[in-house]
Every structure is written in structure tokens, then in C-alpha cells.
Symmetry: C2
Subunit: 415 residues, 2 copies
């Protein structure tokens, strides 16, 4: 976080131009939350009438901002989002609550709305008190200077150990009007399903009611952010928020009140593509990652069972270090299948690496050529496919390899 890390070799090469979203204005600043001279605050101001949805960490010890968001989300309305990096305001006791309240007050005055229309997210070190007085003045200035552009700056302001900013965008038809969806996210460690020190914010000008927005977001997260793991560690601060300004209603977009509304079809498809894209970028920026790993499990008894087995493989240090060593060590994949505790029959298992089958029916595939597999493992993207041969359950999760760099980054994070 203090140091600037070399950009992940898995960073996407095509970074989209981020368009403006009617009803959203952005501004960033260096408030000195932890380090001097580093952009560490993002303010997003939304027009009156903006609806909100959110999905949060399942940690039993959530951060103060997560508790704040859960409370204000009941209201379903948003006028501003304040994000800071450098300090997670997590495990900060009563100070944490005082901090979020003060930030909410400062922001609501700066923007001119009620505190329960302010959303907060913090990421960075856990357990250090967050001095919210640092937002004093800063947020008022930001509210004045906020403008429709600056999406890349916004994505950069929320980074911690991320090595590249993560954005995605799509424009689709809602009724006869064009609506836009913009998203940003930050990773990059403590990433595990349900979700991660993962912050992600999605904005759209589509006019969608808060309950409908919540339903879309909840459904979309299951196979995107919840299907990514870096290290099996779940943050106290995971936050995915979505805001819909409704500004596209002026261009004739119909007002949507139900997630099942048939007119939403292209919108839902685009939203899911964005969520998947951002989730994949998080995996691509896993701390120390050199390889993007896709684990596909098929032939399980159910999708849930396939997910558990895929996660067991994706979280196995032995599998992940083997991938780092470009070793198609399917024995360790078997181990990870076995430890998942889900139905599996050793003698029906088949395993492929990047499309090359190395094991079938519980033993080494006699046709498997070590050189061919070794070459395939040099690819920066590795797919591990496990076929269980029991049923029709299928699932897929993303992860990355476990390298010495991961250990270096995390053995030296606080200092």
C-alpha cells in the first residue's frame, strides 16, 4: 500500500473509455488518511431520487462502514458515496461508530441531504482508529468540484494493494432509451467468496426502484464476485453498492419497479457481464498473481456441491503453488476434491489442465504427454477442469496462483 507494486502481468490490455452517467458527479482528493500525498478519498454525488442496493461481507465482525451501510440501505435512497482507502475503520470499537457518524454528518452537510442518504466504504488497515475530522473541509470542496468525468481517477482513489484500476462499462436499451452502467472495483487480497476486501460500486442512469435493484444485484453477485477467491480470507469490509439515478427517464426510459420486468433483460445481461468483468479483474490482480486460474467442476451431484469442490481446489495452497511452478500436479487436485467433503468417487474422476486430460477414471491418462502439458502450463491463464461423473451439477470459480510475491506483499503490509 505504501509501496507501489509493479502492475500485474495479468492486467487487462483494453481499458474502456468510461462515459458519464447522468446524475452522477465524481471527485477525489488526498486527505492524508494514512499516507501523505496519495489520493485516498472518493466522493460520488448523486441526484435526488437515486435508488440504492447493496451486498456486504458475511463476516461476523464487520467493519463500522458496513454496519452504517446496512442501516441506511433500509431507506433505499442515496445522494452520496464516500470511500476512503488507507484505513478500513474495522475493529475500531466505539470509535468506529463515532467515525462513521461524523463522516456521514460532514458528507450530508457538504452535499445537502440527510445522513441516511450517504453511503460509506473504507478499505485499508484494520484496527486503527479512523480520524474522520480529516474529511472536514475536504468533502465540501469535493462536492463543489465534482464533475461527470474522472472515473479512472475514482477507480484509482479506492485502490490499496491493487496494481491497476478496475473499471467496466456498458450501454444498453431500456425500453426505447439508452441507459449506461458504469462499474469500478478494488481487490486484491483477502479475497474470498461472500466477498473480499473487495469494494465495488456500480452506477446507472436507469430508473429502477430500490427493491428491484437489490434483487438484480443479489442475483448477479452469486456467479461473479462470490465465485472469486484469492486466499480464502474474507474481509470485514466487503461492500458492493449499486446506485440508479433514474436520469434516463427524461430520455424516455420506463420506470422499473420489479426485477422480473421483461424490459430489463438486456440491462440484466449487461449488468452481469460488468459484475463478471470486475470480478475477473480482481482475480487478475490477486496479490502476487502470475496466473489467472479458472476452476471448472462438472458432473457433481448439484451446482452447490460443484461450487464447494471448486472452492476447495481454488483455495488449496498446494494446488496454487503448483500452478505457480507451472506444474500440472493433478494429484493435488485429487487431494483438494477429497478434502471438500462432497460426494466424489475417486475411480470416476477425470482432470484436465487447459484442455489436456491428464487423468481419467481415477488414474493417469495413458495418452497424456508431459511435454505438451508442461507447455500448456506456461500460459498465463490456466483452466483446471474436474469431471466427477456423478450428476449434472456444474460450477466455475476464478482464482490465481500462490507465489513468493504474495508472501512478500503480505509479510510486509503494515510496515
Amino acid at each position: 500500500m505504501a509501496k507501489s507494486l509493479p502492475v500485474s502481468p495479468l492486467a487487462p490490455t483494453d481499458v474502456p473509455e468510461m462515459p458519464a452517467i447522468a446524475g452522477v458527479r465524481l471527485a477525489t482528493a488526498a486527505a492524508g488518511i494514512r499516507y501523505k500525498g496519495r489520493t485516498d478519498v472518493l466522493l460520488a454525488v448523486m441526484d435526488k431520487g437515486t435508488t440504492a442496493a447493496g451486498v456486504f461481507t458475511k463476516s461476523k465482525c464487520p467493519s463500522a462502514p458496513v454496519e452504517w451501510c446496512r442501516a441506511v440501505l433500509k431507506n433505499g435512497k442515496a445522494q452520496a458515496l464516500v470511500v476512503n482507502s488507507g484505513n478500513a475503520n474495522a475493529f475500531t470499537g466505539k470509535t468506529g461508530k463515532t467515525s462513521t457518524k461524523l463522516t456521514g454528518d460532514i458528507a450530508s452537510k457538504a452535499v445537502g441531504c440527510k445522513p441516511n442518504e450517504i453511503f460509506l466504504a473504507s478499505t485499508g488497515v484494520i484496527g486503527e482508529p479512523l480520524d474522520a475530522t480529516k474529511f472536514n473541509g475536504v468533502l465540501a470542496t469535493l462536492a463543489e468540484s465534482a464533475g461527470p468525468d474522472g472515473w479512472m481517477d475514482a477507480a484509482r482513489a479506492i485502490m490499496t494493494t491493487d496494481t491497476f484500476p478496475k473499471v467496466a462499462t456498458a450501454t444498453v436499451k431500456l425500453g426505447k432509451a439508452k441507459v449506461t452502467i458504469n462499474g469500478m472495483a478494488k481487490g486484491a487480497g483477502m479475497i474470498a467468496p461472500d466477498m473480499a476486501t473487495m469494494l465495488s460500486f456500480i452506477f446507472t442512469d436507469a430508473p429502477i426502484s430500490a427493491p428491484a435493484l437489490q434483487a438484480l444485484l443479489k442475483a448477479g453477485v452469486e456467479d461473479s464476485f462470490n465465485a472469486v477467491t484469492i486466499d480464502g480470507d474474507t474481509s470485514t469490509s466487503d461492500t458492493l453498492l449499486m446506485f440508479a439515478t433514474g436520469a434516463a427517464a427524461a430520455q424516455g426510459a420506463p420506470k422499473i419497479t420489479k426485477a422480473s420486468d421483461i424490459r430489463l433483460k438486456p440491462f440484466v445481461k449487461a449488468l452481469n457481464v460488468i459484475l463478471n468483468d470486475l470480478a475477473e479483474q480482481v482475480a487478475r490482480d490477486g496479490e502476487g498473481a502470475r496466473k489467472l486460474v479458472e476452476v471448472v467442476v462438472e458432473g457433481a451431484t448439484t451446482k452447490a456441491s460443484a461450487r464447494k469442490i471448486a472452492m476447495s481446489i481454488a483455495n488449496s495452497p498446494l494446488v496454487k503453488t503448483a500452478i505457480a511452478g507451472e506444474d500440472a500436479n493433478w494429484g493435488r487436485v485429487v487431494m483438494a476434491v477429497g478434502k471438500a467433503g462432497e460426494p466424489a468417487n475417486r475411480d470416476k474422476l477425470s482432470i484436465s489442465f487447459n484442455g489436456i486430460r491428464v487423468a481419467k477414471l481415477g488414474a493417469r491418462d495413458p495418452s497424456y504427454d508431459e511435454t505438451e502439458v508442461s507447455n500448456a502450463m506456461k500460459n498465463p491463464k490456466v483452466q483446471i477442469k474436474v469431471t466427477l461423473g456423478l450428476g449434472k451439477g456444474r460450477d466455475r470459480v476464478l482464482t490465481c496462483d500462490l507465489t513468493k510475491e504474495y508472501v512478500a506483499i503480505n509479510g510486509d503490509y503494515r510496515s
Copy 2:
């Protein structure tokens, strides 16, 4: 495995003299299972009348030798144990079964007993066929040369990535007679509760029936081997076997048929010390380990809940890399408590590192001195103590730190 690794800095400095156990004879050889010129076979021959007990991996994809042992254990009698390193004979399909059968046949002829009195264990690479014909001749020679000494050689023959042999011994009274317990174990990666690529063999001359021996072993494993984790990965081959020759009956030791027999008290105590000692040695030899980590959780709602939380902490890559970096990063401990999914109240949590409280009641302990903690973290043994403040549940698990060496060892194991 091919390379010889530097001895773990956590290796015990006091290695006990291993006495003979009446009724047990040992021999080792280099059979060229995987590498030439490396001792890789252990034969232990036991006198007629020896009883057996065993606890095995919970993997759904167990190795062929584990399936073999489970089957012969029903018989409760043992006359020989054959262990090979270099090849785990796991995920070898029908070949695996053929292999164990052939090994059982060769061993039973060499020793002069039935195949169902032979116990087998294999450790090493998974998924490669084990050529059991290599035992031909070798086991007969070993059976002839086997003697009462050579316990350290035996412990060395079963090593894979272990950097030191692991043994423990105790002599206690059973009735008025002296009985001896000897144990050996190998680790060192893929170590997780229930158990690990962990092989351990315990021998005693006490006359204890097979059912009683099984009950003692099952009870003893819970807070020893099942309370150790290196990387959360569970092997397909975990095997803990115990053999009682009964030879001490000649010196007047009473024949024990029930685990609850009051006369067993000193024996059970000594057995548990040995199991704990060996389990701790496994943690001390965790791949790449530089620090032994003891995680104590108290104040949980139950012991089982405390165990789950302790395991969540002990398996967290972020906690383990922080320890490697000598960083008392209690924020990550909070994270690991939160992700365990067990009852926890953030605002009642206290956390200590090596006796120094760094957090209390859900926030940083105001009296905590960074320099004092930093110095304490330099200790090769680190205790993380979490007090939940909810109930009386307490538990303790052992692990080690996660270093770049772990990644190096496991990124390059097969080659």
C-alpha cells in the same frame, strides 16, 4: 523430496534415545521407489499376538494403502508394517489396489503370516503407479535382518519433505510392570486436521486388546494430530497406526481389554504426551516454517466452536504471512475470527501475541507498545490468544508461518 532441504530452525534440540520395544523388530532399505540410493522402505515386524488400531484421513479420495489398512484393521491383528516413501500409491485406480495386494502378499511371505496381518502406508507423489515388484526380495531380506534397534533410521526412511526425523518415547508403569511406548511421525506439508500427509506409527509392549487400543488412539488424536494444520490441505494418505505386542505380559503387565481400565491411567497420559509431541514436531517441520504458531481461543460458546475459530486463524494465509513478517497484525486475526462463521461479538474480542494484549473489547488496547510487541514477534514461537468473552469453550491448535520457502518447496515438488 529429491533435494535435501536445510533442517528446520524449529527442530527440537533434544532428541531422545529410542529404547527397544519387546516384540518389535525394524529394518530399512533403499528399494529405488522413486530415487536411487535413498532409504525409502521401512519394515517393522511384530510378534504373533500383536494388536492393532488405526485412524485415517477423512478424504473422500483415500489412497489405496488407506483402503487396505481399513480392511485389515477389522481383523485387529498385526505382524508387520510396510511403509514406503517416494510414492503415495494414491489416485492410481485399479493399479493401486493391485499394488497393495502384491505388497501384502510379498510381505506376508517374507514375515510368515497372513496378508490381513500386514499394514501398509505409502507417502510421496500422488497419481503415479507404484511398482510393487520392487518390494520383491527386498522385504524378505529386511525380515531376516530386522532388529530391535534402528528407530532413528526407521523415522528417516518414512520422510519426504521432512527436514528432521520425528520420534518420541516414554516408559510408564502398567500394573507393576514397566511398559514402553515408542512413536515416530512424518509431516510436513498437506497437513491439516483429520489428519495430513501425516504418517505416524506408535508401538508398545503393553498387552492391550485391539478395541481398547482403538479407543485410546481415537481419543488421543483429537487434541494432538487433529489440532495441527500447516496449510489446510488434507492428504489422501493420512495414517496413524498403533501396535501393542503384549510382550510386557511376561514381566507381569496385566492384560487390558477396556480403554476405561483404571490401571491404564499413566499409560494414557504418556500416550497423549507422545501424540502431542509428534504432532508438535510435525508443525515444527511445516514446509518452509520459520515460526511455530500456537493459536489459543477461549471464551467461545463451546470447545467445538473454539476449534473452528482457531482453525480459521491457523489456516488464514494473511495471518500466516503476517507472522512470517514478524507483524502482530491483529486486524487479520479479527478477519479470521469473523470468517469462521461461529458466534463472535466484535466488541467483546481481546487478542494477545505472546502474552502482550494488543486489542481489548473490540479495539486497540491503548496500553499496547508497538516496540515491545515487535520484539516479542521475533521469538521463534508465537502464541496468538483470542478471548471471545462469550462462554467457556476453549481450544488450541498448532500451525506454522507461511513463508516464501513454502511456495518454493511446493512450486517445485514434482520436478
